[in-house]
């Protein structure tokens, strides 16, 4: 019973079904209450979680997003069912943590992770094209480091319980969401009353969608960064089929549900400062390659026992807190009395993006452990 399912999910069609599932569910989640063009955005949703915990106090982006919890827990269930749970940890944790933090700074300069870039495109937001171009440039630079021997060393088997830490954290967050305790009069848990953080589908639907996506993405290894990397590096289009399926299916459902609005200026929770969009995603793409996966993939990996991916996720959540506390995150375009105020990133935001790019270049250039064990 399990074997045919597993074989299907790892096939070409399995990848297409995964991308289509994410696209369809994301579009439906938007219709059911999630923010526009943000059915599932790993960067935005982790940022909302950081806000709910009070790590940043931007009152419009605070909510414990059940989708994120679902990705990790769904992945864990799939890993158990298919005997693929593998508790492991590797090397250079502080590097992975900072790659996560800077990836988030880059993603919030664009206002979205690669999943949201695809969903924005499917909603007609053409700024996504600039973001995806930046992502591709970042990945192409990262590919060069990979070609010339960049790696953070081997991972090793670790304690089974260590692999369960990230799923346990997510289960804890779920409890905080369901019971929403107040730990002090004006303290956490914070839940937005207006703004994107206040827009959400019912908890049970968001959680179910997250669990389903986490489950199948664990089997199929869906990864947006990997899709571009594999095409550039070895000419493999396997993951790219899933990415295309995501865009096409989300676009189709958006059309049916009236969520398509082609344009550049004034798109929902987006800005049309092209330099900010491009530079942010160059940084994000580069950091994803060096860390080995896009934010969605890192969540999935953290659910199947990969503690390195867990560190990257925690780095992203911390990076989100910095991005909002230091005013590094981009401001969306605003339309006031028919006058467009173009958003974008502050000079501090651009400086942070540049520092992030320099950090990634140093990591890529200096961390090239020779791989032992290749014998001719």
């Amino acid at each position: 019973m399990l074997r045919p399912i597993s074989r299907f999910l790892t096939s070409r069609w399995g990848m297409i079904v995964t991308g289509a599932t994410i696209g369809i569910l994301a579009s439906l989640l938007q219709k059911l209450g999630n923010p526009p063009n943000m059915g599932v955005c790993v960067a935005c949703f982790e940022r909302d979680i950081a806000g709910a915990l009070g790590l940043h106090r931007a009152s419009v982006v605070q909510y414990i997003r059940p989708e994120i919890l679902g990705f990790v827990l769904g992945s864990m269930v799939a890993a158990f069912v298919f005997r693929d749970f593998n508790a492991r940890n590797g090397s250079a944790p502080i590097v992975r943590f900072l790659l996560g933090a800077f990836a988030m700074v880059g993603a919030l300069a664009f206002l979205g992770c690669p999943w949201r870039a695809l969903l924005r495109l499917a909603g007609g937001d053409l700024n996504a094209v600039v973001g995806l171009a930046g992502l591709t440039i970042g990945i192409a630079i990262g590919d060069q480091f990979l070609k010339y021997g960049y790696n953070l060393g081997r991972s090793h088997k670790t304690y089974y319980s260590a692999g369960l830490i990230m799923p346990a954290i997510m289960a804890g967050l779920l409890a905080l969401l369901v019971f929403a305790p107040k730990f002090s009069a004006d303290g956490a848990i914070f839940l937005s009353e207006k703004g994107p953080g206040s827009l959400h589908a019912p908890i049970i639907i968001s959680l179910a969608a997250g669990l389903l996506i986490g489950f199948i993405a664990q089997r199929t290894r869906f990864c947006t960064m990997g899709s571009i990397r594999d095409v550039l590096l070895v000419g493999d289009f396997h993951l790219m089929r899933g990415v295309i399926a995501l865009v096409v299916s989300a676009f189709a459902v958006n059309l049916v549900t009236g969520q398509v609005n082609f344009g550049i200026i004034g798109q929902p929770i987006a800005h049309s400062n092209h330099l900010g969009n491009l530079a942010g995603m160059v940084l994000a793409g580069l950091a994803f390659v060096l860390a080995g996966g896009c934010p969605g993939r890192q969540l999935i990996l953290s659910g199947e026992g990969d503690t390195d991916a867990g560190i990257f996720v925690l780095g992203m959540i911390t990076g989100a807190a910095f991005a909002h506390n230091f005013g590094l995150a981009a401001k969306p375009d605003k339309i006031l009395n028919d006058v467009v105020q173009v958003g974008g990133i502050s000079s501090a935001g651009m400086t942070a993006v540049l520092i992030g790019i320099v950090f990634c270049l140093i990591v890529g250039l200096t961390m090239r452990e020779k791989i032992q064990g290749v014998v001719r």
């Binding site: 990997g226 590096l233 070895v234 493999d236 080995g292």
Partner: protein, 67 residues
């Protein structure tokens, strides 16, 4: 040629295999320790016209790729 790719994260096993294929090596013996790496190497081999034999021993996948 023998490659020990255990513990190497994605896409290192694929890069090492691809490098060996670019050097026209055959057969290539590669050991990986995750299903994910095994699937990725297998897909690369199929794309490049290599025959793949996989033997699972414990938690490791011993792969033989030959033209």
């Amino acid at each position: 040629m023998k490659i020990d790719a255990c513990g190497l994260s994605c896409p290192q096993p694929v890069i090492l295999t691809n490098n060996a294929m670019n050097d026209n090596e055959s057969p290539i013996y590669i050991v990986v320790d995750t299903q994910c790496a095994c699937e990725n190497v297998q897909r690369l081999a199929n794309n490049k016209g290599y025959q793949v034999e996989i033997e699972k021993s414990g938690e490791k996948f011993q792969m033989k790729l030959a033209k």
